[in-house]
Amino acid sequence: MAKTNLNITDISNDFTSNPVTGDISIKKNIDAIKQSLKNLMLMKRFDKPFDPKIDVGLNEVLFENFPDPILKDIISKKIEYIISVYEPRIKLQKVEVESLYEKNLLQIDITFSLRNQASEELQNLQINLERIR
């Protein structure tokens, strides 16, 4: 299959307007992909109507026991499954879940490349789960 240049457009999650045109702001290319990935990571079971299989629900992890090695493995497996099924535009390289005890922080690093694109540069999405108050 011939590789194409990146041309991905999506609307922005924050629904802000473009200050010049007044139109809704747009996410493009790798930003749109990362936004999509983040949406998937935060999606809980039944958030998607009639499709309960989409279930990573990272924000629910906040209420689990923190230093739990099994939990880290479960999160990795879930992320790998969801990306393989629901985000066919990327090729997952690795998922790293790290517990930073001193900061009460769960750091999730997703490394991926884009499929069928001219550039095969590795991309990284980092999601940090920490208490805010």
Binding site: I8, I26, Q35, N39, F50, Y86, E87
Partner: protein
């Protein structure tokens, strides 16, 4: 892009939106589940799906055919002028006797209405009330003094339930207010409405207010109330507006009394009532004897939603008038909940024709025929300005043919765990339930294949089931009088080639033999179209035909009639039985029929006597069935 509005499933709606977005090139992430645009499509599709489902339910509930909620069905029925039937109190008739000299003599010659009568059934206490005053009249006199010894009320009607009263003061600011009777087991036939001027002024309390069922006679001065079932399943009462029905004024006190009933639980009370074991007592009537004249009947639950859907359009078409034969069926079914099946036909269709009459045949629930009290109540109901003038209704008992079910069952003995008796009980119960559910009404025939499947499904140990039905007709003759009778089995009867293999057999009864001695005998067929008597002597049965093998002639003393095997009609000639051995009012005739499927005429009911231990005969063939090992 042309949207497809016929598809209302969530996935189809979302696909419609995606197809729409394909026609533009500004956004292209709509097809990936994580994209924000896709999430937006989820919301839009979900909203559309929700709305379409809501609309679907709304429109379904707007029509009688598709409505599911009781409140919707009741509301539509209201437009058809139909009020759903409430629970009905069981009714019984009793006679109250009192000794004239007991307890210093009678204090009052009247038993006031709403006097309680107490009775126990299955460890529960039930109360019955007389809804009208009952008056004592002299019953027996002392032959010496000529003074009255006992007084009787005669037969008085009692209704089961608990009396409830609702008081309501009319608020003038809301003239159309409705009074809710908060009871799900109310019997609306027992509602009594009185209106007095105010809480302190009792004038008007004795006026009778009646339920308005027919608007023709109602005007602005008619003391009527209107009854309807509300959306909360409680009945509501409201009054007229001064044009249709008299209106009430601010401050009027409405007093409503009614019976809250236990429905069918209170049926068949008083069946075992006998001297020395009276079932009814009345706490407020000491020293009285309460004799049951008619055991309680007719108690029932409130009308089901399905029944409302069925009856409301039919009630609308009859308009509370009994004109055609179907009208009679509908009007009576609305009035009497104990009717399981009903058949009405005009006198011109009767055999023999009886012009100017309507014949009504009713099969009540759990019984073979109506009691005389029930028949009188039905005839009274028809004469309430509803039947056509000049047409006389006549109640006839349904023509019943009883089934004797012979069941041959092959059983895997290993699967039964040796418990053949419990299997037998299950099969008998399944047969009785099948017949009670599918037959036991007019216009129903026995399809043996269905019954066999039902029996086979009762237990996995049953490998095969074969049912051979036999028919039983119960003839109630006039004992001691020679009368011609016709018994119609309505199905072809097996014709045998030998007199020793009869296919018609009767139960035993007494009959004068040709030497004028009363002897027990039965009736058989001879295989050649003739019926003969076979007298018993020393536990053996004898007849000219059977004993001496002489061809039976019509002049032979044992000849009693003929049989048409094809039509299944038996004609008994000058049949004069004496009271029969079992002291039953009827003589049973059994017939072996050619076809296992039994079809009967529209005026006949196929049923089973579940109290008769011989009504189901089961023959088991035991086998240890196992699948071969591959």
């Amino acid at each position: 892009m042309k949207p497809d509005f016929s598809k209302l499933d969530y996935s189809d709606i979302k696909q419609n939106l995606i197809t729409f977005l394909k026609s533009q090139d500004k956004f292209n992430s709509y097809n990936f589940e994580g994209s924000t645009l896709n999430i937006l499509l989820d919301i839009l599709a979900y909203n559309t799906h929700y709305q379409s489902l809501y609309n679907n339910i709304t429109f379904n509930e707007a029509f009688l055919d598709t409505a599911q909620k009781r409140s919707s069905v009741v509301s539509i029925a209201k437009n058809l002028g139909y009020t759903p039937e409430s629970s009905r109190s069981a009714t019984c008739a009793v006679e109250v006797l009192i000794d004239a000299n007991s307890n210093g003599g009678l204090s009052s010659y009247t038993i006031p209405k709403n006097t309680a009568f107490k009775v126990n059934k299955d460890n529960s206490v039930y109360y019955f009330y007389n809804l009208n005053d009952a008056v004592y009249t002299p019953n027996t006199y002392n032959e010496t003094t000529g003074l009255v010894e006992t007084y009787t009320t005669g037969s008085i009607v009692l209704k089961e339930g608990t009396f409830k009263t609702v008081n309501f003061v009319i608020n003038g600011s809301n003239p159309t207010q409705k009074i809710t009777l908060r009871s799900t087991n109310i019997d609306t036939n027992t509602i009594s409405v009185r209106v007095q001027n105010s809480t302190s002024d009792s004038s008007g309390i004795n006026d009778v207010w009646e339920e308005a069922k027919n608007m023709v006679m109602v005007d602005g001065s008619s003391k009527v109330y209107f009854l309807e079932e509300g959306p909360d399943e409680n009945y509501r009462i409201y009054f007229g507006d001064g044009i249709i029905g008299q209106s009430l004024n601010e401050g009027n006190l409405v007093i409503i009394t009614f019976l809250e009933t236990n429905g069918e639980e209170a049926n068949e009370i008083g069946v075992n009532d006998e001297e020395g074991a009276r079932v009814f007592t009345s706490p407020s009537l000491p020293n009285t004897t309460v004799i049951v004249r008619t055991p309680s009947y007719g108690g029932s639950s409130r009308e089901t939603t399905q029944s409302i859907k069925y009856k409301a359009p039919k009630a609308f078409s009859t308009q509370e008038r009994a004109v055609t034969a179907d009208d009679y069926s509908i009007v009576l079914q609305n009035d009497f909940s104990f009717i399981k099946s009903i058949k009405c036909w005009g006198g011109e269709d009767n055999t023999p024709p009886a012009y100017g009459k309507i014949f009504i045949s009713i099969k009540p629930e759990n019984r073979a025929a109506l009691s005389n009290t029930e028949k009188n109540a039905i005839l009274r109901s028809l004469t309430k300005n509803r039947a056509v003038v000049g047409i006389i209704p006549e109640l006839v008992d349904p023509n019943l043919i009883y089934l004797i079910i012979n069941c041959d069952a092959k059983v895997d003995i290993i699967k039964t765990n040796g418990s053949i008796e419990s299997l037998k009980t299950k099969i008998i119960s399944a047969i009785n339930e099948y017949i009670q559910t599918n037959l036991d009404v007019f216009d129903a025939d026995l399809i043996v294949n269905e019954l066999e499947n039902t029996i086979k499904n009762t237990d996995t140990s049953l490998l095969s089931v074969t049912v051979t039905p036999q028919l039983e007709y119960r003839l109630t003759p006039v004992y001691g009088t020679a009368v011609d009778y016709t018994i119609n089995f309505q199905n072809e009867i097996v014709k045998s080639d030998s007199i020793d293999k009869p296919n018609i057999k009767s139960s035993r009864f007494n009959y004068y033999d040709y030497q004028n001695n009363i002897r027990l005998c039965r009736i058989y067929d001879n295989g050649s179209g003739k019926l003969y008597l076979a007298f018993e002597n020393g536990n053996k049965e004898y007849s000219i035909g059977k004993f001496s093998n002489i061809d039976l002639t019509e002049n032979a003393p044992e000849y009693i009639g003929s049989i048409d095997y094809e039509t299944g009609i038996l004609s008994l000639t000058k049949f004069k039985p004496q009271i029969n051995e079992e002291n039953n009012p009827f003589i049973k005739f059994f017939a072996n029929v050619v076809d296992s499927d039994v079809f009967v005429n529209p005026d006949t009911i196929l049923t089973i006597d579940s109290d008769d231990p011989n009504s189901v005969v089961i023959n088991f063939t035991e086998t240890a069935y196992r699948k071969p090992i591959k």
